[in-house]
Symmetry: C2
């Protein structure tokens, strides 16, 4: 009897607690307000933002975000590579940290969502956990990576280290990366020490805008990213023979631009000929000498091919090279390929994919599996532990543009999936 009355009391108490304690969720309006505030740093008159790494706008934006991280109860340090690292201890000793984050630097004349959404959502997750008195088992690190858009410096410093050549590059700010790292409070002497060891991260989760229109066209709310594509890019030189455009009959020309035109069409045909989501692009071209009245003698152009499977990238590239040989023979020109080092695909962890999908389903959000065609800090974090990525729709698929836009509701959804996934991963292995 006493037991029975006790049980009834317990049930009542539980029911009351459930009614009074809403589920732990992010505050969408707060993320929107933070996005709006961050958009002022480097705002372009014509819309969008130019907050390139190491610019004044970047420095000011980082200061703003640092404040938000401290408000969210994080203990923040600027590491040797200029990453803002906000940490909060977990309840269980000996566990590796769970990492969430993204970046806040932009391309020139970029938008307000690429990077910003993921960085501010990660801070919002920390804020909510603090406000709701939730402490994870694992240590939590919120990282705002430095210079993602330029040379992915911050995340690469943690994963593989930074070679001197990369420090000497001149960034979009006009400063060298070396000078930029110092400007934002990095420490060149300690840069090597910033590198972390493989296995030192329990999991890395990143929320990002899709930057494409796949989710929008499929009318899905959450993208479960299968991996970040590998990229081969290559400078292609077409050598013909420059001659007077008035005096050289059509059948006596070695027109490098005509050959290049056939090559551009061939790249498109080859990439589309195989089923799959691979992409191939000729994004830039230069014809020499480049005048109305001269048959172009030389063309240099930029080719890139991306896919989740490294083998497929290599096969497509080989086919392109083969087809160029044919075009060269038919047009009296020669093709030369100078491929850069291939960036290998970085697959996301299949278990984390499942966690993200389950979290979305628990929040009654529709999902779609898709690759990330763009590079992200997550691909570097893959060297340190399992990674998972969450995409939200980009309106019109537009990115790297002032027209870049993601709806507040989608941002809130993505942040909640990030929070939910983080809590589920935290609750899992390794057990005490």
């Amino acid at each position: 009897m006493a037991t029975c009355r006790f049980l009834i009391l317990w049930v009542l108490a539980t029911a009351t607690a459930t009614a009074q304690t809403p589920p732990v969720r992010v505050q969408g309006e707060r993320i929107s307000a933070h996005l709006q505030a961050l958009s002022q740093f480097g705002k372009n008159p014509q819309g969008g933002v130019s907050r390139v790494a190491y610019s004044d706008a970047d420095v000011a934006g980082r200061a703003y975000v640092l404040g938000l991280m401290r408000e969210a109860g994080l203990s923040v340090q600027t590491d040797a590579a200029g990453n803002l690292v906000g940490r909060r201890d977990g309840t269980q000793p000996g566990l590796q940290p769970l990492l969430i984050g993204s970046h806040i630097d932009s391309v020139p004349e970029g938008g307000n969502y690429d990077g910003d959404v993921g960085a501010l959502a990660a801070i919002e997750v920390a804020q909510v956990l603090k406000d709701r008195g939730v402490t994870l088992r694992h240590p939590l690190e919120v990282i705002v990576f430095s210079n993602e858009e330029g040379v992915m410096l911050g995340s690469t410093a943690l994963s593989h280290g930074i070679e001197a050549a990369r420090l000497n590059l001149v960034s979009q700010s006009g400063k060298t990366v070396r000078a930029g790292v110092q400007l934002i409070g990095g420490d060149l002497q300690q840069l090597a020490a910033a590198q972390r060891t493989p296995g030192s991260v329990a999991a890395y989760l990143e929320l990002h805008i899709e930057q494409g229109a796949v989710l929008e066209q499929a009318a899905r709310q959450i993208g479960v990213v299968e991996g970040i594509v590998g990229i081969i890019d290559c400078e292609v030189t077409v050598q013909g023979f420059a001659n007077h455009a008035g005096t050289t009959p059509m059948n006596q020309r070695h027109d490098a631009l005509l050959a290049a035109a056939r090559f551009i069409e061939a790249v498109n045909q080859i990439v589309k000929a195989t089923p799959g989501r691979q992409v191939g692009t000729v994004g830039w071209v230069r014809a020499e000498p480049g005048a109305y009245n001269v048959v172009p003698g030389k063309v240099v152009l930029g080719l890139e091919i991306r896919d989740l499977q490294a083998d497929k990238i290599r096969a497509l590239y080989a086919e392109v090279v083969k087809q160029a040989e044919v075009i060269g023979q038919q047009s009296g020109t020669t093709f030369q390929f100078e491929p850069h080092a291939m960036s290998e695909p970085a697959l996301t962890d299949t278990h984390l994919q499942a966690v993200i999908a389950q979290s979305a389903q628990a929040l009654q959000l529709s999902t779609l599996q898709l690759p990330s065609g763009a590079g992200h800090d997550a691909q570097e974090m893959a060297a340190l532990g399992p990674i998972g990525m969450i995409f939200i729709p980009s309106v019109g698929g537009i990115s790297h543009s002032p027209k870049e836009y993601s709806r507040p509701g989608d941002i809130e959804n993505g942040a909640n999936v990030l929070l939910e996934s983080l809590r589920r991963v935290d609750a899992e292995a390794p057990g005490p």
Copy 2:
């Protein structure tokens, strides 16, 4: 008896005169020596010459040529447009002058034959006539035209006059045309007065290198030019939509460079589809924004079409515009055409064509009729009287290049055809 003895004496005298008096011919070695001397002004370290109009080299080269003209017995004046005009009176009053000439300015990093051959051959013709005591019936004018390669200033000043806009252009020398004309001794105040009236020239004859490989491939020594082609040139803008090359699936692109590639191929196909010697070229191209990882959103390129028949040029252009419409519809892009004013074809006088051909045959030189694909001062002179043009072979068809070359024997042949044609025209109409 007396008559008979007289006849024998006359025959002997004539035979002796024939044996002692060689035919009036140019001295090939002297032209070669003059070409060699002129090549020193603006000589490039890597070969060829950069004697752009109004440069120090141009000024020095003009002074050298002025000296040659005076040696050849010409009374030389610099006219208001900076043309060097060397005149020698004829025997018959009231006849309009016969003009011969060309130019000595070059393109940047050009060769030593384009223009120079015709100018020095014209001076050689005057020199030979002086040396041999031959005076023409018509006044003779040897003209070295100013700034042919830039804006064809000297000859246009005589034919159609120079509008202010052309004077404000910045020439390859870095100086405005206005400043350049003053530098070489022209007179801007008298520029309008330099214009001559239609019908004021009895005939204009110009020797020039072919700048193509038609004569060489046909193994002919002298080209009888049918006319100077007309040219339409046009800036073409292809508007697509710039987007991320990694995140934009192949079937969702509006790739302006892919559309431009198809356009370049279409121009080539359309121009080659019709029989004839018309040419069509896309000589320059610019893709924007122009990066490996961005699908090009905009391409601007330069199109030109040349032919001897204005109607054919217009028909080909219309076909190109029509085909661009189709390509635009198929690739989700739009094409915009901004044609410049068409330069109309300038046909040579058919009688002068015959005179040139007969002169060559008399010299036992093989001939071929062909159009001039390049522009020449002759096309302006066509406004003032009948024109004739003589071509000699360009080795390999190369021009506007340090590799430009014509053989001394061919140059001598061409100068002799110029001399012979001039004498035949002089002997013809109008009679006294």
